[in-house]
Point group: C2
Chain length 148, copies 2
DNA sequence: TATTGTTATACTCTATAACTATA
DNA sequence: TATAGTTATAGAGTATAACAATA
């Protein structure tokens, strides 16, 4: 946009999102690494935080990942004491996962890390622009059929 | 934002970008797959298109990937006839990569795919909002030290 | 000795498929 | 027979490290 001869591909939404996504993810991953979790763990906790205790199948569906992946994530979160796994008495095949108090604290710390990263990313943006950006990305997320 | 009790993590820029990025990338990858390329190939062509013929080291630096990765990408683009590799007579260690006419056509097709995806993603957005979103993401990309 | 490109190898992430137990 | 969870395996993508040619 600065250069009239700039390659138009870099001026597409798709390109910018495709480039910024991994970059932001990597920085977020680095920020929560000291907490012992990775972005996918945080995503799982966020889903649990949003609703009632869920089965691993439900988690997998909402997160758009395969159920076998949830196993490992839940294992590690359980080791950290962030979630509890209890068998559903009504259907003993199911595990009902829920956040513990420690898990809520951990999630809060991850949220703080995300907020700090947001502040860095939008350092050159006004408050108004920042709100607009967040809102428009929210629209896109819904459009794409995301739980966000 | 719709729900007052919504998990605040999903209301961060970091989270939304981290989720939307891979999703958009995957859709873009599907769109250019029939053309025989993947997003990274397109990225390489975009860099070449933006400037003068570049060495593989330069490409790697601009793309924020390791030089050994450029080797394979360039190999495949050369097989497609999209780029040319010529030894730099001034420094015979270097290869100078440049887009061919076929490469420019291929890149144009990828741009069209990106534009079509943009239209899908922003279907529920007004023209004004779409422009704003694109501009703000551009600011973020610069802030993050990206070539875009 | 330093640098470019290359090759060989390993690591991370995620998916697919096969298996166990419950239903 | 179907489903929840698990385990084992495989694939994609990318990085690290060793190497050859050139400077």
């Amino acid at each position: 946009m600065d250069d009239v001869n700039a390659n138009a591909l870099t001026d597409t939404l798709s390109f910018r999102l495709g480039v910024l996504g991994p970059l932001v993810s990597a920085r977020f991953a680095g920020a929560v690494e000291p907490l012992g979790v990775k972005p996918k763990h945080v995503g799982l906790m966020a889903v649990l935080s949003a609703g009632a205790p869920a089965s691993q199948q439900e988690l997998a569906r909402v997160m758009s990942v395969v159920p076998s992946l949830v196993v490992g994530l839940a294992d590690q979160l359980e080791e950290l004491g962030a979630i509890e796994r209890v068998r559903d008495p009504a259907d003993r095949r199911r595990h009902r996962l829920s956040l513990t108090d420690a898990g809520r604290e951990l999630l809060a710390a991850c949220l703080a890390a995300a907020a700090a990263l947001d502040a860095e990313l939008t350092a050159s943006l006004g408050v108004r622009d920042r709100e607009v950006l967040l809102r428009l990305l929210g629209v896109l997320a819904r459009e794409a059929g995301l739980p966000a």
